[in-house]
């Protein structure tokens, strides 16, 4: 019999019951809650007169709706009355059911996928769910983590379980060394470009290979975060010393004897050498260049040195029509060099790229320079209150402000534009977020997905630049 994959191990360790009809009950160790996808779940509990199964398995914060200015005013700082009700509803629900919430004025508040790992609420070997598709982020810790809908949020609150059908196993192996200026964001965009936005549908993906192992935890989180953009609900990376060192000393990480016991258990969280995957995809790290999306789906991506594609060269009629529609929406002509796309705004933030390492990379690029006068706005939105405090302790805020970028309060912000931060109709944005869908960052807005250093360089120049090539030329 062949060995087990990491996903097999995590699945088996949480299997409460395998039913005859092929479905299974899977135990959930941690649920993260936020204001947008939880109110109807709490209401469902109330209507059915149910209580949470295990209150301590849940941790809540408010992130999607919160304004990124005027945080000292707390909930009163939310101008939009509908948003305000949603944020207040999370607070009252958490209070009613006894769930810990990091509210708007708590230093620990932030994007749910930033604060879980930061606090040690995300641990290796866990099953982690949240009513948010980017829950795949937490798989970076050798955890089984995925997004769920609101009915399932209610189901987990009430039963501590989910009804699941096991996914197939896929391994994405990235071997070799990444070139300077090429980051985790470029790796995952290149993977999505290769396998497509539905390439991972029905699979749990394990990211492996020397290039993945050499990434920091921040980088691994960025890769796992966008697994959903490749169609797979869950992405994961095996536990190694990098994982354990990141978790050590976190506020909610195990302490003392429990720490030793936990580390022993976590060290088994790798695929066996003889494990068999249903599908294996390999990429050569050295071939990956900084990526820029040109269309309205994350698979519509190319190298910064590339050009906007020509639909006339696409043989498949459905794909051709998709490209034509995307170019029309994006206001781009075929064959335009990526570096000639003029930008209106720059957004550095989101659960993909708003951790301290991301902000350091962006700050290094803008240090001593000035944002292009052609831009309407360039903003930096840290992922949490603690990321913000850390950045300020390192003086990164001063660097951003001196260069003409705005330094904001933590939240999801312009990634999905549920708060006041949004693109205007027809505006192009270099964004470190995860989705370039039509209207995602604002009605008629045009998103180009990039890594933090690329976004920072675009802010300085007003258009995309190949920073890796520029560095080489400077040498």
């Amino acid at each position: 019999m062949s060995g087990k994959t990491l996903y097999d191990k995590l699945w088996d360790a949480h299997l409460v019951k395998q039913r005859d009809d092929g479905s299974a009950l899977i135990y959930i160790d941690r649920q993260l809650l936020h204001e947008v996808t939880s109110p109807q779940a709490f209401e469902g509990l109330r209507l059915a007169n149910r209580k949470p199964w295990r209150v301590d398995a849940n941790l809540a914060t408010t992130d999607h709706n919160v304004p990124t200015t005027g945080r000292e005013r707390g909930v009163d700082g939310i101008e939009d009355p509908v948003s305000k009700i949603q944020v207040l509803t999370l607070g009252s629900n958490c209070e009613e059911f006894g769930i810990v919430e990091y509210g708007m004025t708590d230093k620990r508040q932030g994007i749910v996928h930033v604060i879980g790992p930061e606090q040690g609420a995300t641990l290796p070997g866990m099953t982690i769910v949240c009513g948010d598709s980017h829950t795949s982020t937490h798989g970076a810790f050798g955890a089984l983590a995925h997004g769920i809908g609101t009915s399932e949020v209610e189901h987990v609150l009430a039963t501590q379980c989910l009804v699941q059908k096991k996914s197939k196993n896929m391994k994405v192996e990235v071997n070799g060394t990444l070139n300077p200026g090429v980051t985790a964001k470029d790796v995952i965009l290149a993977i999505i470009g290769k396998i497509g936005t539905a390439g991972g549908t029905g699979y749990a993906i394990e990211f492996a290979g020397s290039a993945i192992r050499s990434l920091s935890m921040e980088g691994r989180m960025t890769v796992c975060n966008m697994t959903i953009e490749a169609g797979a609900r869950a992405g994961m990376v095996a536990v190694d010393d990098t994982t354990i060192e990141y978790v050590r000393g976190r506020p909610l990480a195990p302490k003392g004897d429990q720490w030793e016991q936990a580390v022993q258990a976590w060290k088994t969280l790798q695929s066996d050498a003889d494990a068999v995957f249903d599908k294996v995809v390999t990429l050569d790290a050295a071939s990956i260049q900084p990526q820029v999306s040109w269309g309205t789906s994350p698979e519509m991506v190319t190298n910064v040195g590339g050009r906007v594609p020509d639909p006339a060269k696409e043989a498949d009629p459905i794909k051709r029509e998709g490209i034509e529609r995307a170019l029309k929406y994006m206001g781009l002509k075929p064959n335009t060099p990526i570096t000639e796309i003029r930008l209106d705004r720059v957004f550095i933030g989101s659960c993909t790229n708003a951790r301290i390492e991301d902000l350091r990379e962006a700050a290094a690029v803008v240090k001593g320079k000035t944002v292009a006068s052609s831009l309407k706005q360039a903003m930096v939105v840290p992922g949490s209150g603690l990321v913000k405090a850390q950045a300020e302790a390192e003086g990164l805020d001063k660097i951003f402000l001196a260069a003409g970028l705005e330094w904001r309060e933590p939240g999801c912000s312009m990634c999905l534009a549920m708060n006041a931060d949004k693109l205007g109709d027809g505006e192009h944005c270099a964004s470190t977020s995860n989705r370039n869908f039509e209207g995602r960052q604002g009605f008629g807005g045009r998103t180009h997905l990039v890594n933090p250093a690329m976004a920072a360089a675009a802010a300085i120049h007003g258009h995309f630049v190949d920073i890796a090539a520029a560095d080489t030329a400077a040498v």
Partner: protein
């Protein structure tokens, strides 16, 4: 949840792949704390020419005449025919809520994104996978025949066409069972409460650090 056994209805064709849930229901409508009322804003950015806002009277807004659901021949449609990877992106259950609220009971496509697929079953909305060639054929027939209807029989797991075809489809037994009977699956899971408690007790013993209180 409303039970689903058999449904006959008018088919509307949405001829594009990778329809994402942002497109199905844009973010500004996610601020609601209710499960209902999303229908008037289904496909808001495709359906109207201006930007929609929650609470606004949609009847006064300019409609996009090119959008398929605005065409007179598709009024009252309850079966949506779509292309591959339907429902990709955000996990928002507001997407099936909006489709259901608008009046759809069935979505037919060659493939669905996982989370959307799962969410649909929880809301009496049947996402139904047919082979790409059959979907292609259905697009042509819908286009050629105004008033084109399909019958979907979940019990027999077939789609019946006016031409007399019977296309079989697959669906998981558990999901089918819940949908056919309109079951609340939390209630079904809680029948296993003893099993869950036993599992939890063992897990607490094996991995006590997972049961420390949060603060």
């Amino acid at each position: 949840m409303r039970a689903f056994t058999q449904h006959q209805g008018l088919v509307a064709p949405l001829d594009r792949s990778n329809v994402d849930t942002d497109m199905i229901i844009p973010k500004q409508f996610l601020k609601s704390i209710k499960r209902t009322g999303f229908g008037p804003n289904l496909f808001d950015e495709l359906r109207y020419l201006d930007e929609g806002q929650p609470g606004r009277d949609n009847s006064q807004r300019p409609l996009n005449p090119d959008f398929v659901l605005n065409q007179p021949r598709y009024q009252g449609a309850s079966v949506l025919l779509a292309r591959s990877n339907f429902g990709c992106g955000s996990s928002r259950e507001h997407a099936p809520w909006a489709l259901e609220d608008f009046g759809f009971r069935v979505i037919i496509a060659p493939s669905f994104a996982d989370i959307f697929y799962n969410n649909s079953f929880k809301n009496g909305l049947l996402p139904l996978v047919l082979d790409e060639k059959i979907v292609d054929q259905l697009f042509q027939r819908v286009e050629a025949n105004p008033g084109y209807q399909l019958t979907v029989d979940l019990e027999q797991q077939v789609v019946l066409t006016p031409e007399g075809d019977s296309f079989p489809f697959e669906v998981d037994n558990f999901r089918r069972h819940c949908l056919l009977n309109g079951l609340d699956d939390i209630g079904v899971t809680l029948e296993d409460a003893d099993n869950i408690s036993a599992f939890e007790a063992k897990r607490r013993q094996d991995a006590p650090w997972l049961f420390e209180p949060l603060s």
